[in-house]
Point group: C2
DNA sequence: CCAATGTATCGACGTCCGTAGATATGTCAA
DNA sequence: TTGACATATCTACGGACGTCGATACATTGG
């Protein structure tokens, strides 16, 4: 199944968002974007996927290798990957018949900033 | 409406959870707890509430002062506060007829740790 | 006590979400 | 070109979620 890991170079169109929640009051548009990103993390299967991607050698995992460890069907895994991708938390790159996924470090960092206290 | 801010001293029973997702693969129980916390942040109204609490003088806000800025009914605000409280992200303290809410810094810090990269 | 105020709970409604089977699309090997 | 494999999309279903009006509960002042 698993081919040698390949780098994923694309960066997402969903830009990093917002200063810390504790720094200034958030407006509705910012809240909408952030809520979608946090909601994407608000599912145990998707957290497991993020964990699998982040701990993988090269930070990249073939979609086919996410079905077994999550214990979900292939369509369900594909759905979760789309949710994460739409939120800008992961990117994908097709290599042959496979699609390799990786986390977007900048997006996770942006969320960490949002949660920062003073 | 707003009385002078009072310190909120209680810490939640929902303990901080887990090492970074990038450090080790997460198990199902941990994923469940974390997912509930991230899901609690996955709503624009709740993000606004967190922001209002975190930016307030003394870090404490009366529940009555969350209705107008969120633009939601009093029962809806109360519902969102319960979601945040059940997730361990905020604490509450009744003072007279009012209930004062505050964020739990340790919980937000724990989530920041979970999102940390290497 | 009783009335007023602040908060939480209940009940209901419409919508969104997680899930998987069936199927379409894309890619490669022969 | 054909068949096999990998992934995404479609469809449907059950349950969870956000919302608010009505109402119960809690607290204080008179």
């Amino acid at each position: 199944m698993s081919l040698p890991q390949l780098p994923v170079l694309e960066q997402p169109e969903v830009v990093a968002c917002c200063s810390p929640l504790a720094a200034s009051e958030i407006n509705d548009a910012q809240a909408e974007v952030l809520a979608r990103q946090f909601a994407a993390l608000g599912d145990p299967v998707r957290l497991r996927i993020i964990s699998l991607l982040a701990t993988a050698d090269g930070g990249t995992v073939c979609a086919c290798d996410l079905v077994e460890p999550t214990g979900r069907s292939q369509p369900t895994v594909s759905h979760h990957l789309k949710v994460l991708s739409d939120a800008g938390l992961v990117t994908s790159r097709r290599v042959g018949r496979n699609v390799w996924y990786a986390v977007v470090p900048a997006s996770l960092d942006a969320l960490r900033t949002v949660l920062q206290q003073h």
